[in-house]
Amino acid sequence: MFFTADNLHMDWESVSIDFSGSVDSGRMLVIVGHSGSGKSTVLKMMAGLLPPGKNARITLDGTDITKIPAGKRHIGMVFQSPALFSHMRIIDNAAYSLAAAGMRRKERYEKASEWLARFGLDGFEKRWPDSLSGGEAQRVSLVRTLIAEPRLVLFDEPFSALDAPLRKKLSEELRQWQKQLGFAGIVVTHDIEEARALGDEITVMKGGRQVWSGLPADFKESLLV
């Protein structure tokens, strides 16, 4: 498996969260569950933003990354809110990871402009985050994540703040981009339709534990009840 996360564990408020899962290169794993089921916490443990527990072991392409800091894991993450840096123009938001990697301004702006254009955001370079619609902001957030060419991308309910038609449109686009770019992805959602549309595999979480894993075709709504 390209990415594995075994024995993740955390006691969070009154819930004990346990998770083991994996995803292959170019595939998408969807974690479905209600609010408070621990799915976002699992994602943060995978990303290295939260400690994964004593016996946890996380590997990426055969390398143990359990103790590697979040910024050096080559894992990207898209959050529920676009989390754009409100004091930076769109071009600087998009190029943030390139600047952190030490790329020269001219080169990173060229690369960021290309990526923005690829995501239908050409002409947005000089604009400020608060001038964007919800969908546009989430696209910029996606560009900011993908421009660093991460090997795994984690999506924490990325479209839940958007209206239904836009959510459907962006879900379809996300599948296309994944096919084009070939990254592995793990999506957290509570939306059943979104889970079916995005997932190659689905895992259901309830009360901090995995209660079912399988293919989208076998997934039933009753599993969530």
Partner: protein
């Protein structure tokens, strides 16, 4: 009855604003009159004309007289430029000390804010509790604490001399520029700490995590993301500290040396000691203009400030880790202990033994009763008028967009208590009346009014519009809504503001000092006089009573204000007012730009 009460409340609020305006104007008026002191700039052209006339007639006498007049004019002109130079130097020193005081407050306040907001360590709660010091403890007591602790014969010097065997006190920084900025910086750093830590604690977790996952180092994240998110709070807090230091009186009066006086002290000296009212008026006008320019300049510069998103979730504090963090915490903690906590503790330790003796003295008991009476009076006046003005503001400007309702109540912030006191003494002089306790109550109410108004308006704004609308539909009159809905829903804020204003009035020594009310002393003035007579132990005893009463009032105010204390709301209210100005400007500019370039 209700109508009468509402009318009276609103009328008194208007009268209070008018009173404030009149006293402010009467403080500036002597600057334009030949009231006293050197009357300059009156007749240089007349002198020149006389010289010309004298030459024309050829009379020796008239020529001599003309030469004398010309010489006199030259002297007056020289005096004029000397005075301009003097005011310029005082203004420069005032700005310089306020600037460096703000720098000291930032150097201590920013790391303290980081530790309070983001780290867990023993003593965190104590450090956070210091945030009320700047508003709760009067500056007079900070000055007294510094004298007791860092003075030539102070606790610190005596301890060091005993330990090292030195014959001369090793630390003599107190009566110098360094003494002023250290006292100001450590007295005011809690404002920076509180405003910045509040923002830091609530920064959105997602933006930070996005930066972490982009591979940026901690320092890079701080430099490129966190610092920008904190910038409005840092700037807002800095402006408040700058203004507090700019208007500082007692600390500079006690620690300032020759050539080291501020505008505020000079106004006092000119009004009370040299009786040069024209000069005092010029200083008051210059000081108020400069302070207003700083605020306006900040708001204009603030156009570059960008709005930070309110965090849906924020990073929880973690334990202090790494040698650098431990070292920084030790340095900051040690400095706060040495320059703030120990001087205040020295007052209490020195004064504790004097308390019984003080309470047996009639003059102390009278001063205490006077303090209770004036502080309760000014707080009552303040809160009642603030409430009715807030009701009017809420009705006339429900969405807080009117400049009048937003700026006018804050006007007293731009004028110092010494300037207002000087204005009032001018009025009293003109009408040949002596100062009375009632005047003190009214003036203190006018000055603490913005604090009460900010808090009451905040509480009023938290009442949902739908609630007020429903009440309006169900009530027979507007007054019914005020008394049955708005008053009960804001009562905690009203009590909190009352306690807060009472504490501020009780600790104020500036107004009682400049008004010089005959045979009337408040506790702070009593403490000041004892310290001035070098009766430091008694002054500390009196100061201890003042500290305890202020702290009790603040604790009461804080508890009533709920989770976020009264002083937090005050500081936040001011920061928000300043920041809003900047962000609004930015929004407007951006909209114009957008409509031009993007057709949106």
């Amino acid at each position: 009855m209700k109508q009468f009460a509402a009318f009276c409340g609103t009328a008194v609020a208007v009268l209070l604003v008018l009173f404030f305006c009149v006293t402010a104007v009467s403080a500036f008026a002597p600057a334009f009159s030949g009231d006293s002191g050197t009357a300059f700039g009156t007749s240089s052209s007349m002198g020149a004309a006389s010289v010309a006339t004298g030459s024309a007639v050829g009379s020796d006498e008239s020529a001599d007289a003309a030469v004398k007049v010309a010489a006199s004019d030259t002297q007056k002109s020289d005096a004029f430029w000397r005075r301009i130079d003097k005011i310029k130097n005082i203004l420069f020193f005032t700005i310089k000390q306020a600037f460096f005081s703000t720098v000291v407050a930032l150097i201590i306040g920013l790391p303290a804010a980081f530790f309070v907001a983001c780290r867990k360590f023993p003593g965190r709660r104590f450090l956070a509790s210091l945030s009320s010091v700047s508003l709760c403890i009067p500056p007079l007591l900070i000055a007294l604490g510094y004298v007791i602790f860092f003075g030539m014969n102070g606790v610190f010097n005596r301890t060091v001399m005993a330990l090292t065997g030195a014959k001369e006190p090793p630390f003599t920084f107190l009566y110098s520029f360094a003494g002023i900025i250290i006292a100001h910086g450590f007295y005011n750093f809690p404002i920076i700490m509180r405003t910045v830590s509040d923002t830091w604690r609530n920064l959105p977790e997602d933006e930070y995590n996005a930066a972490v996952l982009s591979g940026a180092s901690k320092f890079r994240i701080f430099r490129t993301v966190t610092l920008f998110q904190l910038a409005p709070s840092i700037a807002g807090g800095s402006v408040i500290v700058f203004l507090y230091s700019f208007f500082s009186f007692v600390i500079v009066l006690l620690f300032g040396q020759a050539g080291g006086s501020t505008m505020e002290v000079e106004v006092y000296q000119a009004a009370k000691n040299t009786l040069d009212f024209k000069y005092a008026g010029q200083l008051a006008l210059t000081e108020t203009t400069a302070a207003s320019l700083f605020v306006v300049g900040y708001v204009l510069l603030g156009k570059k400030g960008r709005r930070t998103h309110a965090g849906v979730s924020s990073l929880p504090p973690v334990r202090v880790h790494g040698a650098a963090e431990y070292a920084l915490l030790a340095v900051i903690g040690g400095a706060i202990l040495l320059f703030l906590v120990l001087p205040l503790a020295a007052i209490v330790f020195t004064g504790a033994g004097e308390l019984i003796k003080l309470f047996s003295q009639r003059s102390f008991s009278t001063a205490l009763l006077n303090t209770v009476a004036t502080s309760l009076g000014s707080a009552s006046l303040c809160v009642v008028t603030a409430f009715f003005f807030a009701c009017v503001a809420r009705r006339a400007d429900p969405y807080g967009k009117s400049v009048v309702f937003r700026i006018v109540p804050l006007l007293p912030m731009a004028v110092s208590s010494i300037v207002i006191g000087f204005g009032l003494t001018n009025v009293m002089r003109r009408f040949h009346i002596a100062g009375t306790p009632v005047m003190l109550v009214i003036t203190q109410a006018a000055l603490t009014w913005p604090l009460a108004f900010q808090q009451v308006r905040g509480a009023m704004e938290r009442i949902p519009m739908t609630v007020t609308d429903v009440a309006s539909l169900l009530s027979p009159s507007r007054l019914d809504v005020i008394f049955r809905v708005q008053l009960p829903q804001t009562r905690r804020a009203l009590f909190s503001a009352f306690a807060f204003c009472a504490a501020i009035s009780a600790g104020d020594s500036n107004l009682p000092l400049i008004l010089g009310i005959p045979r009337f002393e408040t506790l702070s003035l009593y403490t000041y006089r004892l310290a001035g007579a070098y009766r430091f132990a008694a002054a500390c005893g009196s100061g201890t009573v003042l500290i305890i009463s202020s702290m009790v009032l603040f604790a009461f105010s804080d508890k009533l204000a709920g989770r976020h204390g009264a002083e937090t709301r005050m500081v936040r209210g001011f920061v928000r007012s300043f920041v809003r100005g900047g962000v609004r400007g930015a929004d407007k500019a951006r909209k114009v730009w957008r409509s031009k370039h993007m057709g949106r």
